[in-house]
Symmetry: C2
Subunit: 297 residues, 2 copies
């Protein structure tokens, strides 16, 4: 079965053709300009490929409430051209196939649950530490939406006693994103993360915040697997430091019998490399197909 | 249909007989001593009442993993007499009926979802601020267990800049429970919460922490309803102050279209008064009955 997937990001749109086994056959990337200039190119890419469904993992905020008049829209994004744009609708109308729609990080966690590091889990998280901090949540066997969709990147944290940086989140100052995103590193030290590779103190502080957040997520979501990715995690040593900080924050509170025996198998990089988002998008397409056409199978 | 329910707490065991409509016919309370002295009295209470199933909402930590050898046990509790006690097993063996088992707060949220303030919700939380802080989570139409069960009362928070209290959680110092539980109030001010009713600063600080936690839970769980209860919430004015603080912490981040229009209908007291826990326990019993006997209906 041929499926289309879109990983819709603030800087680029990744489009791909694949199948329900998580295979990718073809891929194209378009810069994110305006709906008027970008969407027709994407539609043209999919038009003659014979896909039976399309899935979209989209930058947010988005409306995921199927009862809402603006379901499938990007809502109050700071990217003004895309504000209240009917993203899912545009593709459904042009391609006349079932369209699945969710956040980029929910797409990514779904990809990893179906084909990657969280295979078989009923509860898993995908956390990306990049320009922003995003959390995709697959809980009780389904993607989590709820009142809107999780925005776990903005939780409030205990400040490190020696950290004087006030945080860069325009809404919350020192929330997780404000303290630990790529721009936060740049704001605190005046240089990009990639240029600070040798500075141990930088990654210790970074791991203090990410590890603290991981502990919070363990306490709230009780996930079976936590997948960590995004530009900042290209500093590979940070994985182990995050695991260690999470354990130190929990400080023996979760009973040993229920804690993961091996943290290095619990907090992990994606198994799908750079592809969880686009493979997850195709999974969203597959699910939309089953929902709409399943009765005829 | 006659159902039994147990709300198993650290100081008392509430036992009740009711039905699948959330009605309570009879109730008895036993002090929590040891399994040897307390459990036989509870069994005797249920023995001749003709219940067809029993549900237990239990103080934690508990083992909820049905594949585990210690499923249904209380695990590493500081109450030594109850440590690794097979709570569910004792009742199943004595009463020979299906037994449902979960945490006390998961029981409470289930009661409120079926018959109370969160009726019809797919995603709801029950937060109790008392001797400890507990969070029950009903997510994607089911109680949340995951790796173990949520322990959302221990999340880490942004400290109020003028609060010098180091927190009373033996594991985390200044986690939510360490900063905002009843004992935290007593530790900070040297007097019990009930005696501090007139001290505005006390409740402002309290609401700062509970409101911050509510904002965190909105960002992570994206619930449709948040139910707040426990001894500390007997200070009724705190409800409105918590709502206000939650909105201030979010600071416009969640788009207006998806925020609850009326916070006073979103963060609420239980609709079942003092009974969400015991009614929820009977719901757990009902669910266990359907799981085990449903095929014969
Ligand atoms: N090797 C690296 N070490 C530390 N930080 C990095 C590295 N590479 C990229 N980053 C940071 O990650 C952020 C970009 O994250 P990324 O996940 O690649 O993109 P986006 O979040 O925009 O989709 C930037 O702030 C960048 O400085
Ligand atoms: N009216 C009140 N105002 C403030 N705090 C109170 C009040 N009543 C009880 N508390 C506090 O609540 C805690 C007990 O919580 P409760 O929910 O009643 O029991 P538990 O958590 O032990 O099941 C105690 O620390 C007590 O000081
Ligand atoms: Zn923020
Ligand atoms: Zn704690």
């Amino acid at each position: 079965m041929k499926l289309g997937g879109i990983e819709a990001g603030g800087t680029k749109m990744v489009c791909a053709i694949g199948d329900e086994q998580g295979k990718i056959f073809d891929r194209a990337v378009f810069p994110t300009e305006t709906p008027e200039s970008t969407v027709p190119k994407m539609i043209a890419y999919f038009q003659d490929k014979g896909i039976e469904a399309l899935g979209i993992g989209c930058f947010g905020p988005v409306d995921l409430n199927k009862k809402s008049a603006t379901y499938g829209y990007i809502t109050s994004t700071p990217k003004l051209a895309w504000r209240f744009y009917d993203f899912a609708g545009a593709f459904r109308e042009a391609l006349k196939v079932p369209v699945g729609f969710d956040t980029d990080v929910n797409g990514a966690v779904l990809g990893e649950v179906r084909f990657g590091a969280a295979k078989g889990c009923e509860n898993a998280l995908y956390i990306t530490i990049g320009t922003g901090v995003g959390v995709g949540a697959y809980i009780n066997g389904r993607l989590l939406h709820g009142l809107m969709h999780p925005e776990g990147g903005h939780i409030f944290l205990r400040k490190h006693p020696e950290d004087t940086y006030e945080g860069c989140c325009p809404y919350h100052g020192a929330c997780l994103e404000g303290l630990a995103s790529g721009p936060a590193i740049q704001g605190r030290y005046g240089r990009k993360g990639a240029e600070l590779a040798g500075r141990e103190d930088v990654w210790e502080l970074e791991s203090y915040y990410i590890g603290q957040a991981v502990a919070d997520y363990m306490l709230t979501y009780s996930p079976e697997k936590i997948i960590l990715w995004g530009g900042v995690m290209h500093q590979e040593k940070v994985f182990d430091m995050v695991r260690q900080n999470a354990v130190e924050f929990l400080n023996g509170y979760l009973p040993e019998t229920s804690l993961p025996k091996d943290m290095s198998q619990y907090v992990v990089a994606p198994a799908l490399g750079e592809n969880p988002g686009i493979i997850g998008a195709m999974c969203l397409g597959m699910d939309a197909y089953l929902m709409e056409c399943g009765k005829n199978l």
